[in-house]
Amino acid sequence: MNLEVKIDELTLKNPVMPASGTFGFGLEFKDIFDLKNLGALVVKTITKNPRLGNRPPRVYEVSCGMINSIGLANPGWDYFREKILPQIKDLNDILILNIAGESVEEFEYLAREAQRFDEIKALELNVSCPNVSKGGIAFGTDLEALKQIVSSVRKIYSKTLIVKLTPNVTDITVYAKAAENAGADALTLINTFSGMVIDVKSKKPVLGNKHGGVSGPAIRPMAVKMVYDCFKAVSIPLIGVGGIDSKEAALEFFLAGATAIQVGSQNFVEPGFMPRLIRELGEYLREENIEGIAKLTGLAHRREENV
């Protein structure tokens, strides 16, 4: 049995990695397990300048999941490079830097910086952030802005470029194709769904920011379908994310077309979930006599054709 997968030029020893923003910089999990076990380490979104983030409350539980409006709180690139990167560069062989910007220039700036650091093996673009020059609408919901960001970063960044798409669009395959054509090497599907919770007692939105992003098992069926649809639409590898809380949930994503998967909210509930998942996926391959996890990718499509 073989858990190895390939994403562009990178070979991951297994297909399991944390979803950005749900794993800090990895340091909080060091007590629980050896991060070397992970397929890759994906860090919390970094922006050019430090961001305080949104006003609290920032998290709340919803049926089968949660909603958050953290607001990309992070210490900024300079602090990350000086203080955090040295601490985390040896935690895993494959460090993926997730970045966001308020403008195309900020994305370009960060891509140029990331290019200089050998320990950063790939970039993941978080395009769910607001585009300041367009009144704050998310880059990832504006097809032209998305193309512009991906192609500008592509010109600067020669290593593996992953684009993490937002599900808050009418047809995600259109955005997936646009990102592929603009030079993405892989896609992460998906970020959180836009949502809101209202406190009936106080008659006000619960979150300080009023609205936020929904994650957890509640969004899994939608995430699986987006992976399934994009698998048909593009030919670059897909990284599936959304509500993975069990081996079965992870398998759904592989069968739908994912090459690798990310675990988000479940890290909060069970900080040792990812190593358990890796173990269980290995056992599954052995029991089912499947020679490699890569064999599962997109299998649900082949079954469909046979019917």
Partner: protein, 255 residues
């Protein structure tokens, strides 16, 4: 932090709204549990996704038991009330930065279920040879834990509506005290209580610490969901209640 299984030893109602949960945990972890620290409990119930934070109200090194006083609030605390002795419960612990135990005379100010961490703190201070006085304010009979008053000599109870102790608020208790006769003050209670107490304690020269609550997703610093505003070094900052707290310098928190 460890993710481990505890064994429920006792779960009994103390009042209509409060119950006491005692859990046996592995011996090695006990010395790491300090007053003000907390655990994230996994509640196996329909519709409960995130863990719930609860402060340690006591730790017994001899029996290996940890105690929680829990107020019935919603689905999680409702389901946890039904857990039986003999059942296992998954816990992340110990979490957070606890109280600074100091010698001399300490005043402990508790509002409602805020008594939970202060009960543990009071025992620890006494164990270390310090002196304590407690002001324990509750809303009504249902929020009052009688066994607390049996544990300590210097404890004054205030009840908002006629019930146990004197009628009045925590603030009435505070006003009646010569606070400058204490070396340090510790608080835990609802925000309204903390807001009311703030002006009274602003000029107190000793250490004032508060244990805060906020809505948490992870409890160990990974989500950045639990922040509160803190004013320190002339700067407004967001600090994580779960990791930088839950115990903060009272004078620095922006309530």
């Amino acid at each position: 932090m460890q993710d481990l299984k505890g064994l429920v030893v006792e779960n009994i109602p103390l009042t209509k709204e409060i119950y006491k949960l005692q859990i046996s945990v592995p011996e090695e972890i006990l010395p790491e549990i300090i007053p003000g620290s907390f655990a994230m409990l996994k509640i196996e119930a329909k519709g409960v996704f995130l863990r719930r934070p609860f402060s340690f109200a006591d730790v017994d090194l001899k029996t290996g038991l940890v105690t929680f006083y829990i107020k019935l609030v919603g689905k999680g605390t409702g389901a946890l009330r039904e857990i039986h002795p003999g059942q296992e419960i998954s816990m992340l612990l110990p979490l957070g930065r606890g109280f600074t135990v100091m010698p001399g005379k300490s005043l402990l100010v508790a509002g409602g279920i805020g008594i939970a961490p202060l009960n543990f703190l009071a025992r620890e201070i006494i164990k270390k040879g310090g002196e304590i006085s407690i002001i324990y304010g509750v809303k009504n009979e249902a929020m009052f834990i009688p066994e607390i008053t049996k544990n300590f000599k210097n404890i004054e109870v205030y009840s908002e509506i006629p019930g146990p102790g004197k009628k009045g608020l925590v603030l009435d208790g505070l006003k009646a005290k010569d606070i400058n006769s204490y070396d340090q003050i510790y608080l835990c209670g609802p925000n309204v209580m903390l807001q009311a107490a703030k002006p009274y304690l602003q000029n107190f020269s000793g250490l004032v610490e508060v244990s805060l609550e906020s809505y948490m997703a992870c409890g160990f610093g990974a989500c950045l969901g639990c922040v509160v505003k803190v004013f320190s070094n002339n700067e407004i900052e967001y600090k994580k209640v779960c990791k930088d707290g839950p115990v903060f310098n009272f004078k620095e928190v922006v309530l």
